[in-house]
């Protein structure tokens, strides 16, 4: 469980990026943190594994206050995948890249071997085991970065902008992967601008603006509130846009799921034919 209590954070250049944020994320939850650039999303999540320590307020991860623990100790339970994979890849082979964190955490060689194989397989990277990560494509590098974090099987996973630079197929794989993490009762926190991706996943949405949380609730509720989204420079998901236009005809407004949309339209069609 991650608990942030009224945290404020100022960068060394005096810019106050968080202005009093309180947020509790329960074990096994799936949360998307959204908001425009500079809203403080990345700053907030960097508090969850102790990379940043609040200037004021407290952050507790599984009951431990982050100021009383090292990043390495916190990272054991909270995996953080950065936006740009090029900020972390450095090894000669993909295999070594994935083993890096495992070595840092002091796993035994046979366990490392086993975990690397598992992570490679999970993200369909097995064929690149002995390849240099620098020779891979952007999307593949992103997967290596993800695999290098998943390898130590953290109970919480933070993904900063996971969908950037990914094609549709990769996004779909990512979505399925997050769902799989969910069935294993893992906590997943994503920071993203990608409304369509969030609409498809339908997680809890936390909306930020200028260092504060402006809304927190179900995706379906927040992503269909035009006033709220405009405040954060986010456009409605396409399905919600269609249903907003259809609202005068008696359709519900709060639809973001493709399957649900199809059911509503089919029902409307049937009732019309029945008449």
């Amino acid at each position: 469980m991650i608990e942030a209590t009224d945290i404020r954070y100022s960068y060394p250049n005096k810019v106050e990026a968080l202005k009093g944020v309180s947020l509790t994320i329960q074990d096994g939850e799936f949360v998307a943190i959204m908001g425009q650039n500079g809203a403080g999303k990345s700053t907030l999540v960097k508090h969850f594994n102790g990379l940043l320590k609040p200037s004021v307020g407290k952050v507790r991860v599984d009951g431990v206050e982050t100021t009383k623990s090292s990043v390495a100790a916190l990272a054991r339970n909270v995996g953080f995948v950065f936006q740009n994979p090029d900020h972390q890849l450095f090894s000669e082979t993909v295999e070594e890249e994935i083993a890096f964190a495992l070595k840092n955490f002091g796993f035994q060689p046979d366990v490392i071997e086993q975990r690397v194989t598992w992570a490679l397989n999970l993200l369909s990277l097995t064929q690149y085991r002995k390849t240099s990560p620098f020779l891979l494509s952007g999307g593949e590098r992103k997967r290596v970065a993800l695999a290098s974090v998943l390898a130590w099987d953290p109970s919480t996973l933070i993904l900063d902008e996971p969908t950037i630079g990914q094609d549709h197929e990769q996004k779909e794989k990512l979505r399925q992967f997050i769902m799989q993490m969910q069935t294993q009762k893992k906590t997943v926190v994503i920071v993203t601008h990608d409304v369509e991706f969030v609409a498809e996943c339908n997680p809890r949405v936390v909306l930020m603006k200028e260092g504060k949380i402006v809304a927190d609730g179900e995706g379906k509720e927040i992503l269909t509130d035009p006033a709220l989204l405009e405040l954060s420079s986010i456009v409605l998901p396409q399905i919600a846009q269609v249903f907003t236009k259809l609202a005068p005809l008696g359709f519900p407004k709060d639809v973001i799921d493709l399957y649900e949309a199809k059911q509503i339209i089919l029902k409307a069609k049937e009732s019309k034919q029945g008449r």
Partner: protein, 260 residues
């Protein structure tokens, strides 16, 4: 990355910022030469304190202090190595003169850092490029140089992100002995270098697509002109050099150890 902070230009208006970059550079080189000329601690101390009025006048004391703090690690290293080598080569004798000598070597390094820090803190990259061009340096080289200077803060920021990313993977930079600590930086340096190269290739493509180097002869919007203050600094520089050369050849400089 506090060392880089000490080299980062900030736009402030002060008499020092307005000085001609060429003259300022001559001044820095003069300080450099004088620092190399002396190995005794007293002239180096004088040299060290002489910079302080410049720093105060330019109102960059905070950043300047930060650059000195950034250099502290290397300075300590230089001091320790100097003391250790004289200790082992002089037959395990730790004399006041040896320590003073080591302190002087360290101070020499600090003087070099402080004068370059003042120069970079008070000179905008644009001014620097202009100065190079007007000193007949080919535009390609001048541009490469200013771009390099301009990218220092960008790289510093990137280094911070990379360190965060590796820390999130359990890397503990401050752990282990000296050698281990140096090795800890490999996972930071490799991504930094790779991304710098990638970035430079992208920059080259972006520049070429905007017709960089299409005309052979370029003109500048701003031109550098020498003012009163520049002549004054030039006079000071010549004065310092003259005094230093005189002292070096005709005055025997006492050590602090012998004075006590």
């Amino acid at each position: 990355m506090s060392v880089f902070d000490g080299l980062r230009f900030r736009k402030v208006y002060s008499p020092i910022h307005n000085l001609d970059p060429r003259i300022k550079f001559v001044y820095v080189i003069a300080i450099f030469v004088v620092a190399i000329l002396f190995y005794q601690i007293i002239p180096l101390l004088v040299l060290f304190f002489m910079q302080i009025p410049f720093v105060l006048l330019a109102r960059v004391q905070r950043q300047w202090l930060r650059s000195l703090r950034g250099a502290a690690f290397l300075a300590t290293f230089i001091f320790v190595v100097n003391v250790a080598t004289t200790y082992f080569t002089s037959g395990y004798l730790l004399t006041a003169a040896n320590v003073e000598n080591a302190a002087a070597m360290t101070l020499r390094f600090v003087v070099l850092v402080e004068s370059f820090s003042v120069f970079f803190l008070t000179t905008s990259p644009d001014h620097l490029g202009l100065a190079l061009e007007e000193s007949r340096v080919p535009y390609e080289f001048a541009f490469a140089f200013t771009t390099a200077v301009r990218f220092v803060p960008v790289l510093a920021e990137e280094a911070q992100t990379i360190m965060d990313a590796q820390k999130a993977r359990g890397l503990e930079l401050e752990k282990g002995g000296l050698l281990k600590r140096i090795r800890n930086y490999v996972p930071v340096l490799i991504p930094l270098i790779v991304s710098a190269i990638r970035r430079s290739l992208e920059l080259a493509e972006a520049m070429e697509s905007r017709a960089w180097g299409a005309t052979k002869k370029r003109t500048n919007l701003y031109l550098l002109k020498l003012h009163k203050g520049d002549y004054a600094l030039l006079a000071i520089t010549v004065g310092i050099l003259a005094v230093a050369v005189y002292v070096h050849f005709f005055v025997s400089i006492p050590t602090i150890a012998s004075l006590l």
